[in-house]
């Protein structure tokens, strides 16, 4: 499959929105991968934290919203504490989740809670 790289208005608007919501400079990532190397949840992720930032840089909103990673990130901030550029990746993930919600891409609706867990949850 061929991916067409397009950085048009729509993509820039998406990147700007993510920067605004997260307060992070996503452009500053130089893809060292240290976030992924230390992530305790990476084994469950379909895209690694460094790839998540990369997809933001590429303006790939759809691919991001479709990814499981968004909801696997436990916001433990290990990535942020190791990041040489000081990017809080958990904040970026949170920003993407925020954008995903109105699009109905919430991966875990209340009606999906398994019956055996329902009693334990608030």
């Amino acid at each position: 499959m061929r991916t067409i790289l397009k950085l048009g208005k729509q993509e820039h608007r998406f990147i700007d929105r993510i920067s605004e919501l997260s307060g992070e400079n996503v452009y500053s990532c130089y893809q060292c991968g240290r976030c992924s190397a230390g992530c305790p949840m990476a084994f469950e992720m379909d895209i690694l934290p460094n790839q998540l930032i990369r997809l933001v840089q590429l303006g790939e909103e759809e691919a991001l919203i479709a990814s499981k990673t968004l909801f696997i990130c436990a916001s433990c901030f290990t990535c942020q504490s190791r990041c040489p550029k000081g990017i809080n990746i958990a904040n970026v993930a949170e920003a993407i989740r925020y954008l995903a919600e109105p699009k109905g891409k919430d991966h875990f609706g209340p009606d999906e809670v398994p019956a055996e867990l329902a009693d334990e949850l608030p």
Partner: protein, 656 residues
């Protein structure tokens, strides 16, 4: 009217600088506005005043119009003041009768409103006219040169500098704080990209330096302070007591054999032991033992004294004292080298907790034929041959958030060399390098790196390691392969960290006293990043090697030789010229309050207690004007920048 009551004939030359100035400032209007202004007999504009036709126009106009001083309204005086000074000198005028009105950096480049910028330009030029009206003709201050150099630090850069200066025919003092010259280079096993043995190429240079009649090597000495000025420095040097007479010591090792004190060996990066009386390494220069007083049981024969008892040539002298002496030099080459960033900064890699997580210099010693393992690759903890070695690049480098923002430049190449040499020693072992980018910009560097991958089959994994910890006997490394998008966990027997290079401890404190500036990362600053890369802004100081920033051996040697070429420039001059725009003292007005003495950053002023006035060493004065601003009585007046001149300039600006 000028100070002498004579009327001046001033020429004003307004430069367009292409569109740099003319794009914002109406240069024609500026030239017109100055016509007939007090003292101005001629005013014009031209597209490039600094061009040859521009300079010729000034020259001809001075002759035709019989001008005695000029104002060039152009760029900052740091760029072309010298150009126009030489032009008016050609016309037979004193170079201090030219002033630059900066209408570019201080006007056209920072404004966009054309009308206001033009009015501002007119004000700037008029204020310079007021200044020129009272400018005196000045002659530069002349001083002699001591044709003798000091080189601080005797690693490869210091040794190369000393040899070159000595070969130019000048005397050199080569000061080194350690017991032997050689620096870090003598610790290395082999050097990239040719793999020649570091000791084999370094020791001939060390011997040459020790034999050269123009070089005086002062090992185990430290520079305490430097005073004076370019061409005429006074250096205070502290001799640390060695307790062994180098001339008598035959290096028989009898003292070492009987010494009961065993301490960690710095030359082997703490991977082996030495005695309190020791020879740093077999090829040490000077070839002499040194008694390390901090680890000695004590000099009282009653407590130990074994070494002195066995020393046949009677070279050991317990009465050796620390002494401080003074030397005179004309130039100083700073070649103090580097340190490695402390492993303790990297808690996520265990800091110094794990014996088998080591830095690059420790691995150099392990690889070295003269090292603690006799050239066999064995790990520090249990002496086993490691079968899986992980190399991690950029440890503390390229990390503005937590460590150092800069690239340490040499690590890509030495890691490649380490991995290659490891494979040569342990062909059935695995070498894995974690990297972010591999930078091989240097002659034959890329080819060397390719060889590591093609022929020695070293695995390069693109991703930075996040964590290193121990599980039983094994070290576990958490990394990532960003190329396949997989998080990686691997077992290692030995981990080698390419630690960031940092400025040597204590160097910045010494240099602050000398007013040599350093950048935000502690590296010494050059006078100009492109055009004056080996000189310090403080005249008479030159930079060589890693004290100035991370660099490899070829670059260090080039910089050392380049710095010496500049020392040669200085020593070739009969006399040095110093700017005459200094701040003398009017003894009739000076009350001897001494405010200027404390405020002077160059120690150029002192109180003459007998006369009760301040004396000025004009050669030390850099003309910063701090004293003139502080002087309550007006006794300190900067030449061609007097209070009267400044007030008339301000008045001209306010008048419009």
């Amino acid at each position: 009217m000028n100070g002498n009551g004579k009327k001046k004939r001033i020429g004003v030359f307004v430069c367009h600088c292409g569109v740099n100035i003319a794009g914002v400032v109406d240069v024609e209007r500026v030239a017109k506005a100055l016509e007939g202004y007090s003292g101005v007999s001629f005013s014009t504009h031209y597209i490039y005043m600094c061009s040859e036709p521009g300079q010729n126009m000034i020259l001809e106009t001075i002759r035709e119009e019989k001008l005695d001083s000029i104002i060039v309204a152009a760029c900052s005086p740091t760029l072309h003041e010298k150009t126009f000074q030489s032009v008016i000198e050609l016309a037979g005028l004193n170079p201090y009768q030219v002033e630059i009105a900066n209408i570019r950096e201080q006007d056209s480049w920072v404004h966009s409103d054309k009308e206001k910028a033009t009015l501002k330009a007119i004000k700037i030029v008029k204020s310079m006219v007021e200044k020129v009206l009272q400018n005196e003709s000045l002659e530069p201050i002349r001083v002699g040169v001591t044709r003798r150099a000091l080189v601080i630090g005797a690693g490869i850069s210091g040794i190369q500098s000393a040899l070159d200066i000595a070969d130019h025919g000048y005397e050199v003092l080569l000061v080194e704080k350690n017991p032997s010259i050689g620096g870090h280079m003598i610790q290395l096993s082999e050097t990239f990209p040719t793999l020649d043995c570091s000791q084999c190429i370094m020791t001939p240079k060390m011997v040459e330096a020790s034999r050269h009649p123009n070089i005086r090597i002062l090992t185990y000495h430290e520079v305490e302070s430097i005073s004076g000025y370019v061409g005429n420095f006074k250096v205070k040097i502290r001799k640390k007591p060695r307790f062994v007479d180098p001339d008598k010591c035959t290096m028989c090792a009898d003292c070492e054999d009987v010494c009961p004190q065993i301490v960690s060996d710095e030359f082997n990066m703490g991977l082996s032991f030495r005695k309190a009386i020791y020879l740093p390494f077999p090829q040490a220069v000077p070839g002499t033992y040194t008694l390390d007083i901090e680890n000695c049981l004590g000099l009282l024969p009653i407590r130990c004294g074994k070494c002195k008892e066995v020393c046949e040539p009677d070279a050991i002298n317990y009465d050796d004292q620390e002494t401080v002496f003074e030397e005179e030099v004309g130039a100083v080459v700073v070649s103090t080298g580097y340190d490695l960033y402390d492993l303790n900064h990297l808690g996520e890699f265990g800091g110094e907790k794990y014996e088998d997580v080591i830095n690059g210099l420790e691995f150099e010693r392990i690889l070295s034929a003269s090292g603690p393992t006799g050239g066999e690759v064995r790990r520090p903890s249990d002496g086993k041959v490691p079968k899986n070695v992980v190399f991690i690049q950029c440890c503390g480098s390229r990390d503005p958030e937590n460590h150092n923002p800069y690239c340490s430049k040499i690590c890509c190449m030495y890691t490649s060399k380490h991995a290659m040499l490891y494979k040569h020693h342990v062909p059935d072992g695995n070498a894995t390098v974690f990297y972010i980018d591999v930078r091989t910009g240097g002659k034959n560097f890329e080819e060397f790196y390719q060889r590591t991958i093609d022929e020695d089959q070293v695995l390069y994994v693109r991703g930075k390691v996040s964590k290193v910890y121990k599980e039983g006997d094994k070290i576990i490394v958490w990394g990532v392969d960003t190329l396949t998008g997989r998080k990686i966990e691997m077992e290692a027997d030995l981990v080698v960290l390419a630690m960031s290079m940092v400025q040597t401890d204590g160097v910045n404190e010494l240099l602050k006293k000398l007013r040599i500036s350093s950048d935000a990362n502690g590296w010494l600053s050059e006078a100009h990043p492109k055009l004056r890369p080996v000189e310090s802004l403080n005249a008479g100081f030159y930079l060589a090697g890693c004290a100035h920033g991370p660099k490899d051996i070829p670059e260090t040697v080039s910089q050392a030789s380049a710095a010496v070429a500049k020392v040669g420039d200085l020593f070739a001059q009969e006399q040095l010229l110093h700017e005459p725009t200094v701040v003398p003292v009017d003894e009739d007005l000076c009350s001897g309050c001494g405010i200027c003495v404390t405020i002077c950053p160059y120690s150029a002023r002192e109180l003459d207690k007998e006369k009760g006035v301040v004396k000025v060493n004009e050669v030390l004065c850099e003309g910063c004007g701090a004293c003139a601003a502080a002087c309550p009585s007006g006794a300190a007046q900067q030449r061609n920048q007097t209070d009267d001149q400044i007030f008339s300039m301000v008045r001209a600006i306010l008048r419009g």
